[in-house]
Symmetry: C2
Subunit: 362 residues, 2 copies
DNA sequence: ATTAGCACTCTAAGCTTGAGAGTGCTAATA
DNA sequence: TATTAGCACTCTCAAGCTTAGAGTGCTAAT
């Protein structure tokens, strides 16, 4: 962990700079730090520390005589410090407040409460429910909110192909009635020949082709009870992929908050607006992105260029899956500029996701 | 009609200027006109005519030494010339082509055909159908497309209040389970006292309160047959309002095409982007606007400031209701900059609306 | 009625300039 | 040794100035 490299003082100054920048997107100078966050050192000292932080790669300068702004690596360090702690404990809230004039108690708590109540009322109407989710998320955060609702109807499994690849890997290509929607690499036992793999695929195809996810699920549960020990791990994995893939199709991603996000100073550049507008328009892009989070545990954060989607360059994603019981059902996420209020975004996504999980599981 | 004031030559030049400007948003100079549209006159002559057209209010100059651009009044004249003719006849197509590099035969025809086929296939899924409608409209036009689908379920009629107003008018205030959604002035017989009107309202309330539109419709048809001659015109009107109002709620307006529209040069200004993004976000605004078209006949055009919605200033709307049989069911529309390819927009909205009407009526 | 010619106007882009902000480095200090 | 005062240096941004080019309106000629 990188954090070991930084002493407490440097850390505090890094936080101060990041939070100042999140609050107001202007390069932070050493003199400003001494004034706004009186650590008790002169600007010269702060300057030295800032130079160190820049050497670590946590800060950068837009030009020689400007202050510093956080780099992706800086944000990553910051986010990791938060993620290491319990989201509901004081540390996250403290950071959240420091990064924004809006304080926690003023609004977030109330809104989450209201949201919870409302969700209970409309839990039977998935459409209404996810509209509510994205509206709440985007209006609370001013970022773009996205939700992948669970999709248990309509889409049917057509066939799966498994192709050996390298030593102990296989590519699974999944076809549904809506086309190829998943294309994933699995680890398999090195001893399996292509023939063996074929027979696994054949088995899955003969067993499940033409069925909807609901049906497949029903059958799955039954089978797993009956023949528990016979289940090969590869088959299990393949089925898991099918499951996940069948959950989502690009038709019904919920997206909201473009208007709010373009009012952020980060999007004063027209090209940036076009970029994010395009990303939202091409829903399959977001679909693929969020899909990667679908089997994760808890809130995940991708900063700036950490994801490999060029179209989303300079944007960060805070996402969390939600569940029905233990089964992952979908993902909600916030997409915003790299200069995001991460503590707030993480806090919100976490709470809302838990809220959805609870509602679904009852 | 204003058109009488213009001789044929001036008209042609006006068209040329408007179409040149629609094609490329740069002020049109006299020399440019002589080159691009060889009328056989020198630039000085064209200049004189352009000065006349400016006096009429059809053109204006951004500044003294610039060419001319059309005014709202100029566009209005242009649109009126088109609307006077049969949309499917050559004149509209000719104008459409002149105003755009994209020629009719290249794409529009094909797309409409494909659209028609697809619509037939998914006519039972309103959601899919209107998604298809707005996607087709916006991708064909590069403007923002909007659709108000018919809403026959869920929303129920709560009560109507009729309040006398001026000589022979009454305000109808309609309440549904989702709140006040219509507020319209009716003409009534001057001899009716407030009491009479109250009893009409009472009658409607007792008869229909709590019912959904579907139910109200059924009852309506029956009644109208039975007691045809007893029906008072005011009651008929009031019911008509209820009907229309119940058709739409802001929840399910379909909107698409923001990304396409912000790529138009008209939206190179960030404030303009924010404006249209906001208009789209505040769906109730569009709802109110389109609602005004719901009982019109055929394609309607509002140019620039002709509508009284400040938020939509500088935007034009081309809208058409669609029907099931004779009954208006909803509205589709294109929203774009004042510098719109009106012939194309009118043509498309007209065809798609007719297409929907046909599909619904079968 | 049309047109050639010309003086006039306005914009947009490029260039220069100076104030201001913030740095890095050095030498002095606790 | 850690900190700090002081200063020269760098870079940006806004303001002011200049100029080429586009397009006009008017006048006098056809």
């Amino acid at each position: 962990m990188v954090s070991l490299m930084l002493d407490e003082r440097s850390k505090q100054i890094l936080y101060a700079i990041i939070e100042s920048y999140i609050d107001k997107p202007e390069p932070v100078g050493s003199r400003f730090v001494t004034k706004k966050y009186p650590f008790g050192f002169s600007s010269a000292t702060i300057r030295n520390i800032m130079a160190d932080l820049e050497e670590f790669g946590f800060l950068s300068q837009p030009h020689t005589s400007a202050g510093r702004i956080p780099t992706d690596k800086g944000y990553r360090f910051y986010v990791d410090s938060i993620s290491g702690t319990d989201i509901n404990k004081g540390f996250v809230r403290e950071r959240m407040d420091k990064a924004s004039y809006l304080h926690y108690d003023d609004s977030l708590g109330d809104m989450v409460c209201q949201f919870t109540k409302k969700l209970g009322r409309i839990k039977n109407d998935m459409n209404a429910m996810f509209s509510e989710v994205i509206n709440t998320l985007s209006s609370m955060s001013n970022y773009v909110s996205v939700a992948l609702p669970p999709k248990t109807e309509k889409t049917t499994f057509n066939r799966i192909d498994l192709i050996r690849y390298k030593d102990n890997k296989a590519v699974a290509i999944l076809l549904t009635n809506e086309g190829v929607i998943k294309n994933k690499v699995l680890k398999i036992d090195a001893s399996l020949a292509q023939e063996d793999i074929n027979s696994i695929a054949d088995y899955l195809n003969s067993e499940y082709a033409g069925h909807t996810l609901d049906e497949i699920r029903g059958s799955l549960v039954k089978r797993m009870k009956q023949e528990k020990l016979l289940w090969d791990e590869v088959i299990a994995k393949a089925i898991k992929i099918c499951e996940q893939a069948l959950l989502f199709t690009s038709e019904d991603i919920f997206v909201s908050g473009l208007y709010d996000v373009i009012n952020l100073p980060d999007f004063s550049n027209i090209l940036r607006i076009k970029q994010i507008a395009k990303a939202i328009k091409d829903k399959h892009l977001i679909l693929r992105l969020l899909d990667e989070f679908s089997d994760a545990e808890g809130v995940q954060v991708l900063i700036g260029s950490e994801h490999h989607y060029e179209e989303l360059n300079g944007l960060s994603v805070v996402a969390s899956p939600y569940k029905e019981g233990d089964r992952p059902m979908g993902v909600i996420a916030l997409i915003g500029p790299t200069r995001m209020n991460y503590p707030k975004a993480i806090y919100m996504v976490d709470r809302i996701a838990k809220c959805i999980s609870k509602t679904l599981s009852d």
